[in-house]
């Protein structure tokens, strides 16, 4: 029988308080004795901002096997998540990806990434995950027939060629960011790229000013129409550089689940908390996401994100970023000052 979530979380909290100097300080500042933690929720969560300000890892930096960086520029620095090994990250990503995005598929299948390769974006956790899926779930294919963004340019012709060459009976996986999909739709100008029956499209992330903004429902409809798949085959992924686990929309595994509801793997929890007290909120209330990720062994198992969430059915609903405090007076706001 596996160890209970809380027991593992308490072990991690104690380990991280001993091994990550900042976490020890945070526990002390909040009056929490790590040795007395019994429940995951008793451990302070590390704000994602801390990943921009300090080292959040339990080992010597020179031992890092990979270092992922956030793309955000909110505080003028990029968040950093270093790992001394990627085995746990990869195992977690594959296990839950197979159970959700690839549910019912029989890998290997064609995997098409509308994004850069991990060679080109070696500090991107998303590129790492997509490359991992291409390697472990995908049919062998040349690099240029797998990754369709190179040097920030979208290879529409290459993507058309790859899609047109797919066997009609072999479902494919398309992995893309929201802004890449918008660029693709714009480039296609209404033309379609029909995928084989049973194919799925992963859509992740916001727009971050890298494309025009498109409402989620509208984008999903347009993507489904372009690729000739059902809207339920367009599956949202929610992940963060600061985490080692991902969350997937339940659309493919729960026919009754509405779009926008994400599932956690058994080793992670998303808890809506009050933004001021950080206390958990009753089911159905909107709070900010406290994410407990047991795969974050060497960094911070509890992370305080800047996304608004609420529990819905078996999962949680993602409701967008927490806006910064509304300005009162002429004092400058953090986002205003250091955004480019």
């Amino acid at each position: 029988m596996p160890e209970p979530f809380d027991a593992l979380a308490a072990d991690l909290a104690r380990f991280q308080a001993r091994s990550v100097a900042g976490y020890g300080r945070l526990c002390a500042a909040r009056g929490v004795d790590p040795e007395k933690i019994r429940l995951a929720g008793e451990a302070p969560a590390v704000p994602t901002d801390a990943f921009k300000l300090a080292h959040v890892f339990a080992f010597d930096g020179s031992d890092a096997a990979v270092t992922f960086h956030t793309s955000g520029t909110t505080v003028g620095a990029r968040g950093t998540h270093a790992m001394r090994a990627v085995g746990t990250y990869d195992a977690a990503a594959l296990a839950f990806g197979r159970a959700t995005l690839a549910s019912g598929l029989m890998p290997p299948v064609p995997v098409l990434v509308i994004g850069p390769s991990d060679r080109e974006a070696s500090d991107s956790s998303l590129a790492h995950m997509c490359a991992l899926f291409a390697r472990d779930l995908g049919l062998p294919a040349p690099f240029e027939r797998t990754f369709f963004v190179r040097g920030d340019a979208l290879d529409v012709a290459g993507l058309r060629a790859r899609v047109s060459g797919l066997a009609p009976t072999a479902p494919a996986l398309v992995l893309a960011t929201s802004f890449a999909l918008v660029h693709l739709l714009d480039a296609l100008g209404g033309a379609r790229l029909p995928l084989p029956s049973g194919s799925r499209v992963m859509q992740t992330g916001g727009f971050k000013g890298r494309s025009r903004e498109v409402a989620p429902d509208e984008l999903r409809r347009a993507v489904a129409d372009t690729f000739a798949v059902s809207e339920r085959a367009v599956v949202g992924e929610y992940g963060m550089t600061e985490l080692s686990s991902q969350f997937w929309e339940a659309a493919l595994v729960d026919p009754d689940s509405p779009h926008g509801v994400y599932l956690e793997p058994p080793w992670a929890r998303v808890v809506p908390v009050d933004p001021e007290t950080l206390h958990p909120l009753p089911r159905g209330e909107v709070g900010i996401a406290r994410i407990e990720d047991l795969a974050n062994v060497d960094s911070a198992f509890a992370v305080l994100a800047q996304d608004r969430v609420r529990r819905v059915g078996p999962g949680f609903e993602l409701l967008g970023r927490v806006p910064g405090a509304a300005p009162r007076g002429c004092s400058i706001a953090l986002d205003e000052m250091l955004s480019p």
Binding site: R25, L53, S331, I332
Partner: protein, 347 residues
Amino acid sequence: MSRSVENRTADVRRMLACARTIYAQRSRVVPALVASTGLTAEGVELGFASLEQDATDAELRRLVSAAGARRHVHVVLSSNVFVAPLRALALARAAAERVTVRPSPRDPVLARALLEALDAAGDDAFSQVDERDVSQIEAQEIHVYGRDETIAAVRARARPGVVVRGHAAGMGVALLSRDAEPGPAAGALALDMVAFDQRGCLSPRLAVVLGGEARAAAFAGALHAALGGWAVRVPRGQLAADERAAARRWRDAVAFAGRVWEAEEHVVALVPESAAGYVPPPGRHLTVLAASSPEVAAAALAPLARAIVTVGTDAPLELAPLVPAHSRLSLLGTMQRPPLDGPVDRR
């Protein structure tokens, strides 16, 4: 039609006389200011210390010179620190024979009091307008106070040929020399922090302490003690829910990244250089950074330069070279009271 410097100076002096009247009768407006600003009554009283009531002739000549000359200036006020309308209207009056004013809907108290006092004093140059659409305003020049987005919106809507002068949000920085005594320096900076609960563009949000980490820690501890004293004399006012949430997030992030001195109504954080740009939210929160040399201090300030409206220091002559060219420079404890010699914000 052009007004002489003497006439313009006299017009501003009349405004200062009105400010003195308002100050003398301030008990009339304190309740309204408590309601509109969220400050405590003690905080409003402290804020009144920053209301300009006098100026030297030389200061006023500089103000008049900076104001330019127009027939009609329109002023769009934001919910700035509550004493800010005096300087805003003085700049407009120095420039123009006619001044129209749109007070902040959220914090109109001092602007309205000033307009009433000016009317009573016989200055008929001013009139209040509630028109939100600046394309309907016929002024030659518009002075707009507020966020970058507000200023951009006014620029976009202003009639062709109208000059728009924007006064955006900003922040203050404290710069302590190697010779600064932690106790007195902290006491002076605490006054600058407590005024307006840090909601002003002159409010210090970051202190750079020349010397080692131990000096910076000693200063942070002294500031913590000084702010504790202020919490008794001038309790912090209300923070909105989103401000409290931002403060909680900042507190936890800096507790992780550095060392914090916390009390119910303030937090002082000693952080590594990597966190210099992680500016705290208003509400008596300050980041302290140790700088081993002036070069390190300059490097820490460089990315923030465009936001720095003022620098407070114990050694203005020695540290002036580190201060961004557009920033005001003042002694610690006087950051909130720059001379009435032009706009607060010189960016």
